[in-house]
Symmetry: C2
Subunit: 119 residues, 2 copies
Amino acid sequence: MSFDPATLVYDDAGLIPCIAQDADSSEVLMMAWMNAESVTRTLETGRVTYWSRSRKSFWIKGESSGHVQKLVELRLDCDRDCLLALVEQAGPACHTNRRSCFYTALRNGEEVEIMTPMA
Amino acid sequence: MSFDPATLVYDDAGLIPCIAQDADSSEVLMMAWMNAESVTRTLETGRVTYWSRSRKSFWIKGESSGHVQKLVELRLDCDRDCLLALVEQAGPACHTNRRSCFYTALRNGEEVEIMTPMA
């Protein structure tokens, strides 16, 4: 079936969450938001393009930092209200310079940092 | 630092997205929502407990289907507005009986089913 971004289920703000996962290591790198046009641009350019809710603008991941996400494959879930982007991530995905944004684990009721910033 | 679920960043509905990832295979299984009490219950019981937006009630994953998610580790992201649950998933995570909800890939502009329901 031919894919139309308009058939995805967006929230009241017209956004859909997108999980970025390292296509090689399967590490979950981050989660950010897309609107329909972000989805279209991501598929057309092969560069993962989110919608920045704070800046209210398109956010071509890595455009300023160089830490680009090259799309390997975009997948959607059963409810069509969440996306999974398999990516090749250049350097850190997180703005803190860590490979993944999920660097804090909860262990025995404590927050534990399990990842250090990349050199 | 001791963890307090109230320090997470929830949306206007008091919810935070939680990505469930298979702790062994690293496969991303699903994404659903939690409120602060879901987070507390998940940590206390070791059974991943979402908040069902449609039913407006707690949703102990697998309570009716038997396809439970045993929590291995809960992680939070840099913005504290997204969770990653590493889980042991019994059987399929998806209500369609597929292992993962992300069984549809976009390939050459087409929707392609890449996973069949489990036996």
